[in-house]
């Protein structure tokens, strides 16, 4: 077990920079998820930790040892690949034992460690099968077993669940999480799926365009996104981000949308000299009001999901999504009134950075 320290790490291919001075500290035993849209550099960062990509600048240390110039096998890490990367000509047992075979481990120890890992993952009856005889979920488990057998200091996962169907993905998510609890090994996990990030991570690193947007606990990111990018990326359906400008109505500060609709501002929010801005409110915190309280919106689509109802509506020419946990009887084209929970509103400046509340 070990901590991983990433300090001002850069990666460039020729003149193109794909990672710009990225720094993350991952504590011993922590489960950290790197999340972001494709091309944000998350997989590149993971591969740099693994030693499969050169580091253009900065340092990566594992357990206090700088590993920049160490080959993968000396870094004491193991990696699970998106497409499993099982050796097709070896049985499950041989696949799992391969690293020990390479290291020249005695047969007895090899067998013991493989048996242990197989038991943890429920692979014992499959040890003599070949990868082609396994289902997707089983292959995924073998890939994880191959990692466990090595007993590494850090587990690296590169989108391991992307190739599985939705149901299996949910099951494997729980399995990986319980595996982490059991082994208590540091895990760095890359995904583009924010649900995976939210459900599994101790801490999430949100990346965008080679930069880190925000690092934090899942619910911190959900409640207090520091940028419109994080606000839009974390949470499903994503946060409503409405464009407009800061204004006053009488003595009150308000946020005026482009079509003139006035929205209430949370107490103690300064404008920080910016007149234009973005008004962020999660679909859960927009309430359908009885009577004409709040601002009017016209319903476009109503999607009943059973436990909740998702309503898409327009305010001026902007779209808002409302998630109602009560059964509601509304129809498309109907005009409804929406009351935002003001204390849950996140305001962003024109550049998309969060406007903090403290300096009122």
């Amino acid at each position: 077990m070990a901590n991983v320290a990433i300090e001002k790490v850069r990666k460039s291919y020729g003149a193109v920079d794909v990672l710009h001075e990225v720094s993350v500290d991952i504590a011993d035993g922590e489960f950290v998820v790197l999340v972001g849209p494709s091309g944000c550099g998350k997989s590149t960062l993971l591969r740099m930790i693994a030693g499969l990509e050169d580091i253009s600048g900065g340092t990566i240390s594992i357990a206090g040892r700088v590993v920049n110039d160490l080959p993968p096998k000396q870094r004491d890490i193991s990696m699970v690949f998106q497409n499993y990367a099982l050796y097709p000509h070896m049985t499950v047992g041989e696949n799992m034992a391969f690293s020990m075979t390479l290291a020249g481990a005695p047969a007895g120890e090899k067998q013991k460690r493989v048996a242990e890992a197989a038991q943890i993952l429920g692979l014992t009856p499959l040890l003599d099968r070949y990868p082609r005889q396994l289902s997707g979920g089983q292959r995924q488990r073998v890939a994880m077993g191959r990692s466990i057998v090595r007993n590494p200091q850090v587990f690296l996962f590169d989108e391991p669940l992307s190739n599985l169907d939705a149901k299996l993905r949910g099951a494997m998510r729980a399995e990986i999480k319980s595996l982490h609890r059991r082994l208590a090994t540091t895990i760095v996990y890359v995904t583009h799926d924010q649900v995976e990030a939210m459900t599994m991570a101790d801490r999430i690193v949100v990346m965008n365009g080679g930069h880190i947007e925000q690092i934090g606990r899942p619910l911190d990111l959900y409640d207090n996104p520091q940028s419109t990018f994080v606000a839009g990326f974390i949470g499903s359906p994503s946060m409503n981000l409405l464009n407009g400008r800061f204004d006053t109505l009488g003595a009150r500060d308000i946020f005026r949308l482009d079509d003139g609709t006035a929205l209430p501002m949370p107490a103690g929010t300064s404008k920080q000299g910016s007149t234009k801005g973005v008004y962020g409110i999660r679909p859960d915190y927009l309430k359908l009001s009885t009577g004409e309280v709040g601002f009017p919106a016209k319903i476009v689509v109503v999607e009943p999901l059973g436990s909740e109802t998702q309503i898409t509506a327009t305010v001026g020419d902007q779209t808002v999504v409302i998630l109602s946990h009560d059964r509601v009887s509304v129809e498309p084209d109907e005009t409804i009134f929406l009351a935002p929970q003001v204390e849950r509103v996140c305001l962003f400046d024109e550049a998309g950075r969060r406007i903090s509340r403290s300096d009122a």
Binding site: A50, G51, L52, P71, P72, K73, I77, S78, M79, F81, Q82, N83, Y84, A85, L86, Y87, P88, H89, F98, S99, L102, A103, Y130, P131, R132, Q133, L134, G136, R139, R146, R150, N163
Partner: protein, 277 residues
């Protein structure tokens, strides 16, 4: 199973396939038929069934073509060529397929271009060069020429097999602690083995049947190959056709046996299941 093709399409395709099969099998049938007949009967009517079966054709062919020696020569040349081509080409193909070095595209192009150059173009300079090196009448020298001749084809073919192997397998092996050699030997080679088998089969067939280089570079009786010995059976003025047919059949048998034996492994797909298919 429901067939998508119409009955007419099926009839036409079967008829065509039957025609091709006939074209392919007719000479072999003729070979078998005539190898059992005395020469006089063959000249009379090559298509007639044998009146008397003449097994001596085979013993005569074996003795006159000295197959006990010439077969051994052919085996040694073919075996050496296969071993040399498979080892060197698989290594080369792996490097060309995987190590992204820009200028090596030129090498790939060069290899591709050489497959189109005819051997007749450089057989004389090659002969004089080999004569200087004292490699004339040396069967290993001939194997060396075959290796050079067939390598470009083998490299190009194996290259596609190596390219088809997912990069992650290599990376997984590197993370597992494999050296480059171990990645090649323990991961890549077993996966591309059907490709190597294909190369071995094609190269083996080519070297077994090769004539021009063999007859140019092997001039002593004791080191000619089976094919050359077979060629020498037909005399300038008279030929025993029954014996020649029998000899041809004997030469063909190892090749046919090899194909029948290897057929199953040939088709077997090894790469299935390594990654999501």
């Amino acid at each position: 199973m429901r067939l998508v093709e119409s009955r007419l399409t099926l009839t036409v395709s079967y008829a065509l396939l039957a025609l091709f099969a006939f074209i392919a099998l007719f000479p072999i049938a003729l070979l078998v038929l005539n190898s059992l007949k005395p020469a006089a009967q063959i000249v009379q009517n090559p298509l007639a069934l044998p009146e008397t079966i003449r097994w001596e054709n085979f013993t005569n062919a074996w003795n006159h073509a000295r197959f006990s020696t010439t077969f051994l020569n052919s085996f040694i040349i073919t075996g050496t060529t296969i071993v040399l081509v498979c080892t060197t080409s698989s290594l080369t193909a792996y490097v060309i397929a995987r190590r992204k070095i820009k200028s090596w595209k030129i090498l790939t192009f060069y290899l591709l271009a050489t497959t189109t150059a005819p051997i007749q173009l450089y057989i004389f300079p090659l002969y004089f060069g080999f004569a200087k090196l004292g490699l004339i009448n040396n069967i290993f020298g001939v194997a060396l020429i075959y290796t050079a001749l067939y390598s470009p084809f083998a490299v190009m073919l194996l290259r596609t097999y190596f390219i088809a192997v997912p990069k992650e397998l290599e990376e997984a092996a590197i993370v597992d602690g494999a050296t480059h050699w171990q990645v090649f030997w323990r991961v890549m080679l077993p996966i591309v083995s059907p490709g190597i088998l294909t190369v071995a089969l094609i190269i083996g067939l080519n070297s077994w049947n090769e004539f021009l280089i063999a007859i140019t570079f092997l001039q002593k009786q004791e080191n000619v190959t089976a094919v050359i010995a077979f060629f020498l059976l037909s005399g300038q003025y008279s030929s025993d056709w029954g014996e020649i047919m029998a000899a041809a059949l004997i030469i063909v048998i190892p090749v046919v046996a090899l194909f029948v034996f290897m057929q199953k492994r040939f088709i077997e797909g090894m790469a299935g299941g390594s990654v999501k298919g």
